[in-house]
Every structure is written in C-alpha cells, then in structure tokens.
Amino acid sequence: MDRDRAMRVWTSVALCAKRRGEPLTPAHACLACVDALAVSGAALVLASDYGTTEPVYLTGAGAKALAELQTTLGEGPGIDAIASGTPVMAGDLGSVAAAGRWPVFAPEAARRGTKSIYSVPLALGALRIGALDLYRDDPGEPDREELMDAVVYADTALLLVLDDLGGIPTPSEAPEHAGRPVLWQAEVHQAAGIVSVQLGVPVLDALVRLRAHAFGTGDPLSEVARAVVERRLRLENGSNGFHRRREERS
C-alpha cells in the first residue's frame, strides 16, 4: 500500500530541511530525491509562458548548467515531460535516438558527462506546472521502484511549489497529502475552474488562490472547494489576499 511510500518520501524531505535548519521548500524535495535515488543531480523546472522551462531549484553547478541549457535551447526531456504530462526517459544521451529527439541538447549534455536523464512532470489534471529532471552519470533507465519514488518526489515538490506560489508556509508534519491527497479531489478542481472564470485568471492561479484562501481562513480546502462549487462562496481579488464577498452557511 503506497501510503508507506508517500510517508517515506515526505519524511526524507522534511528531514532534509530540518538538518539544514531551513523551512521546507521545493529545494528539499530535490535534495532528498538525489540522495534517495542515487542520481548525480536534480533540477526542478517550472513551465514558462514561452514554451520552455525556468530552472527554479537546482542541486548543484552541474544541474544548473543542464537546466539552463534546456531553457536556452527550448528542447530537452523536461520540456517533453511537461508537454506530455508523462515521465520521459533518456537512457543514453549519447545515442542516435537521443540526438534525433534533442539534436543540440542531447550531445551537449553527454559531452558534459551526463549520460542519462529521466524527467517526471509536475502535473495536475490539465495543469502543466513543471518537471523534476534527474541526471545520471551512467546510461540506463530507472527501474519501476525508482520511477515510482521519483513520481512521489515530484508530487511532493508540486505540493511545495503550490505552497510557495500561494505564500503558504509548509508545516513539516506529514500532510494529508501523504495519505489521501486532497489535491486529487474532484471538487477542488471544479472549484479551480470556476474561480478561474470568475477572477479571469488561469486555472493554476485559481488553484493557488483557493489554497491560500483555505490557509487564511483555516478551513479545509475540500470545504472551501465545496462552497465555491455550490456558489455559497465567491473569491474576490484583494490587494494582499483574498476576501470573501459573501458566504452563506447552510
């Protein structure tokens, strides 16, 4: 039962932050992932408006260089992972196949000593938020266990990115996310769609605002979502936060 996996991953990320005496950020998901999966580096990249990626959290100079290369070239496994919403494996960057797929990125990455990359998307429904790019100095693909762990690290990074975007500090206790993720509930996504139209913002923004509202009021996200869907709650733009215009309790 993969609650164990989610709990194990969360604990490793929280411990990483604790050891550094830092508040939890997506960077810790990257660092813990590198440790756990024995890869040489990780880059958390966010989807940019220009069809490329923005490196945001990097585990070292090597990862930074490769992430920037991908951004500059507008090609790479992370970009493909974001576009497809599914993991992308580049098992041998020196191969003809890789050069066919990423004509400039692959040979250049291989030249710099990175022989394989696997990239896991940070995606939620139709939202393509970013990717977690994992770099290795040897060719090869991850096995099933490693890939499943990588997906959970990416999910964890996603949660931390959403908190970051919403200005929400992430507590180090395992969130409900480690059990049944509220982020996978239908009503939360319906509410995000509704708020996006009401406020004239992208659905990702709407989701971030819903979470910020829930954090601000102390109400569970699922209840806030239900109130929005039932039209009892309408989020309004505010100068430094979001105010309820009207809330009716039944």
């Binding site: 609650r3 939202l127 499943m148 769609g193 509704i194 139209v197």
Partner: protein, 241 residues
Amino acid sequence: MTDLRPLAELTHTLVGEFDLLEFFQRLVAHAHESVGVAAAGLLLAGNGGTLTHVAASDEQARLLEVYQLQADEGPCLDCWRTGEPVRAPDLSLAADRWPRFAEEAARRGFAAAHALPVRLGGQLIGGLNLFSAKPDELAEDRFTLAQALADVAAIGLLQQRALRRRELIDEQLRSTINARLAVEQAKGVLAAAREIGVEDAAVLLRGYAARHDLQLGDLAARIVRRDPSLGDLAAQSSDVD
C-alpha cells in the same frame, strides 16, 4: 440467459485511438443496466496506492464512492485491501462493519453494495462497485457478469497500452486520473462561463466530445487552456453545435 450484446458493443469500441475515460463511463453505465443494480462506480489506484474515483453511472454513486475514500471505510476499501470481492447484500445489517458508510449509503438511497476487484497483469489496480436500492443478494450469474465487467475495465487499459509506446501500468493509471481531473477542471470552467451547474457542464462536455469525435481528456485540456477555437462551447447561452 444474460444478453451479452451490449457487452460486445462496449468492447467493440476498443479500437483505434479510443477515449479511455469515455469507455469507463460507458462501462459503469452498462454495469448499472446489465447487472440490474441502481448504480455503479469505478475506482482506480494512481501511483501504486491512492484510490481515486474515475467514473460513476450517477451522481449519488459518485458521492458515495468519494465518501468511502474520504472516510476510509466501506466495501470498496475492503475489496481494495484484500483483493477479494466484498458482498454486502443488506446494508441495514452492516452498521457494525462500516458504521459511517452504512449511514451515508442509506442517506443516498442504497440498501446493498458489492465490490469487485479490478486486476491488470496480476496487479490489483482498483475496484468496480455496484449499488442497489433494495437488499440484493446478487445471484451467481449476475455476480459473474459483474466480475467480467471488472475484467473489461482492465482490458480497456491493456488495449490503450498496446496502442501507445511502452508505459508502466502506474504511469497509465496516473494519466487516466489526470485526464479525469482535467475533466473536473473543465466542468468548473464551463459551469462558471455558462452559469450552469457542474453536472450540466459535464453533460455538455461529453456531448460536445461525442459530436466532434474528441477524447474527453483532450477536450478538457483545451478548455482549461482557453483554446480560442472552443469559444462557442464556453460562451454563455450560445447554441452549442
């Protein structure tokens, strides 16, 4: 003798680039009719272990399935934990077994529940759940049909996997769940844009996808990204072609 023609019709849709979400939707509708229960629902496990609701034949069944997941209690959960079918022919006798679920089921108008495991390549990946309005023993022939439909759910996934490049089951389940969430996002967008309820938005979405031969998940993604070519769908009180 059970009429298997509707089942054959269902499996005949498994050709070409078929829409998996729409297939699951039709599967549960078919389960509801052919097994003769009030409603049916399908749960699949994303990322190895988190059960997520994927399709239901009506809103009451959907709410009951979601309730089970949130309360972490009920026949579907037991089926998931044991990998064995779970029979609850009379929920009024199930208050000890699942106190919260039994109460919620009664509130939603269900008096019996049966849960069948869905397996793919030997791996347990979800459950098909049947709900009846009256106490229901689910005799052997209906039970067998229900298990066959649970297997058909798995066949749908296998068929999709055969048509795409190599993917792990886990990735496929995750994609399916993301497609489902995209549909929920699109329902919200349409509901607000057209000032209708989310379930009416769902009907609109499915109808549009069917008429234009689009996959639900793809259409949903385009709506979420505000694809301008879908302007007529998102516009308020326009006649949708």
